[in-house]
Amino acid sequence: MEARGLERRFDGGRVQALRGADFVVREGEFVAVMGPSGSGKSTLLQLLGALDRPSGGEVLFRGEPLGAVHDLAGFRARTLGFIFQSFHLLPTLTAAENVQVPMFEMPWPPRERRARAEALLAAVGLGERLDHRPATLSGGERQRVAIARSLANGPQLLLADEPTGNLDSESAGKILDLLERIHAERGMTLVVVTHDPRVAGRARRTLRMLDGRVVSDEDQREGAPCSS
């Protein structure tokens, strides 16, 4: 995935959230995007997730500009998985039902959807909590359900916006373990927007943002910058 001169303005140009972001995320990478509030991290994530259109520049997925993708909803359904800070589970649905919500866009019969949801919830350690509603789950458990939901359609790219932002440090640690494990086991690309240095510590690469620009790009494990 590649961002080329990515710009995003709001309010008729009065607010400039992104001022030309350039970077490449290679397939299978675990990238953390860090920066203070208002630095454009979440806007960047929305552009990468085809939820918003850039005011300038473009996002390319496997070389193809997202602007040229005819079926963006289909692209999101099949290629992307989203994880949010506030989980955003549907409150009236059980854990297993929440995980099935994205699957309506796939040609799977109800029984297969249920079986896949059960397998995914078991994989995130919630095999015993299938029929619990979000209100009866802890914050960490809700985020696990949300992670299972993000994996529902077998995405190639996982986009997480402050996935540990609403969790205590113990739950946050477990969620990071889980994300790391999923990344390793499934080999999918993982982009995490975060304030939390512990999250960045788990990522291989960290993009630092300030005032709508990527100001540094570091390979955490090797300690060497990739580009700037």
Binding site: L51, A73, E97, Q100, V101
Partner: protein, 373 residues
């Protein structure tokens, strides 16, 4: 999980609000059902009465669309009898009069020995012996309402009549009526020599084309008169027309009020779930699925209201039928056709009320919806 599970569980998220909207729709649909049922029942009752009498054609003044047309001279009978295919002609005089405690009772004057009597089934007593006898027969419902039995006296206008029999007919309009012989009613209503309907029986095997020719001939021979078939008389009856118009007007109002109610509820729930719609779009839902979600929610809501409203409407008709004022005068029709109309009205409500919210919900840009708190 089925898609419908999401729809139903969304509606249960705010049970009080859903229930209130459902109640609003149910009341609207109940009004539609009750009025339509009475209107259709009224029409059906007259149609059944004419059909039971074995009347092929009814001749009356063409301007008279009320159930009680102005009386006219019965001298046309002989001419009518001479017309092709006409086998029998029975004059009939009818009027709405107040009898004792009952404000309006339908009173018929029928020719003694005429074919109109043939379809009645005598439950008690006997038929009037001749036209000179001051007797009356009562339909079972009229006897019940007036609390009269064989041997009692009924006062019609200025005349006193002894009840000589109680009969049962297939049609409520007749069961709720008092029947005198034609000369007796003509005399007491000061309409000597007058009737307001001729009931014609035609030769068996008269073809529809021959029937049409006869109708044309009657119109030509008697200017200002027309000949209707049984169904047409009921359709042209002004009371039935008013009842039908009222039921349509109420349906339209209920549809509008209900649609606004549904729209309000669904629109509110869409606004409340702006962020959630953003999440659904983010996880890959197409806009068409958002439209379906919102439309299905509003349709499930209104269809449930429609079913509850139909039950309520049919119950209201039963109550009205047994109320002291309307007993014996209305006969609600409870048919699958009416149930289908009620459900169509309810579904219409759902569609109408859900379309705009669905449009609004589906047009939300996902990024903007996600930023919405």
């Amino acid at each position: 999980m089925l898609f419908l599970t999401v729809v139903l569980k969304n509606l249960l998220r705010r049970p009080a609000r859903s229930l209130l909207t459902l109640a609003g729709i149910a009341i609207g649909v109940a009004a539609v059902v009750a009025l339509t049922s009475v209107a259709w029942g009224f029409e059906g009752s007259w149609e059944r009465a004419y059909a039971a009498r074995g009347t092929d054609l009814i001749v009356t003044k063409v301007t008279s669309q009320s159930p009680m047309p102005a009386p006219f001279s019965e001298s046309k009978r002989a001419e009518l009898l001479r017309m092709p295919h006409v086998r029998q002609v029975n004059g009939l005089l009818s009027d709405l009069v107040s009898i004792e405690e009952s404000p309006t009772v339908l009173v018929f004057g029928w020719e003694p020995g005429g074919f109109l009597w043939e379809h009645l089934h005598l439950v008690q007593g006997r038929w009037p012996a001749d036209e000179k006898e001051k007797t009356a027969v009562l339909g079972v419902v009229a006897a019940d309402i007036l609390k009269k039995g064989v041997g009692s006296t009924v006062v019609v206008e200025t005349g006193e009549y002894t009840v000589c029999g109680i009969f049962d007919s297939g049609a409520l309009v007749e069961n709720g009526a008092v029947i005198l012989t034609l000369p007796q009613l003509q005399q007491v209503t000061e309409n000597e020599g007058k009737v307001n309907f001729f009931n014609l029986r035609l030769d068996p095997g008269t073809t529809p084309a021959e029937l049409e020719d006869l109708r044309a001939a009657i119109r030509a021979r008697f200017p200002g008169f027309s000949a209707f078939t049984a169904g047409e008389v009921a359709q042209n009856n002004s009371a039935i027309r008013v009842a039908k118009a009222m039921s349509w007007a109420t349906s339209l109002l209920a549809l509008l009020v209900g649609a606004v109610g549904v729209m309000n509820t669904v629109l509110m729930s869409v606004f409340e779930r702006t962020h959630e719609i953003g999440v659904l779009l983010a996880i890959g839902w197409r806009r068409s699925r958002i439209v379906r979600l919102i439309l299905y929610e509003s349709m499930v809501l209104s269809l449930s209201g429609g079913i509850a409203g139909s039950a309520l409407g049919f119950a209201a008709v039963k109550l009205l039928q047994w109320s002291p004022i309307l007993r014996g005068k209305i006969e609600g029709e409870v048919s699958p056709g009416l149930f289908a109309v009620a459900l169509s009205v309810a579904l219409g409500l759902g569609m109408l009320g859900g379309l705009y919210p669905a449009y609004r919900g589906s047009r939300l840009p996902p990024g903007e919806a996600l930023r919405y708190e």
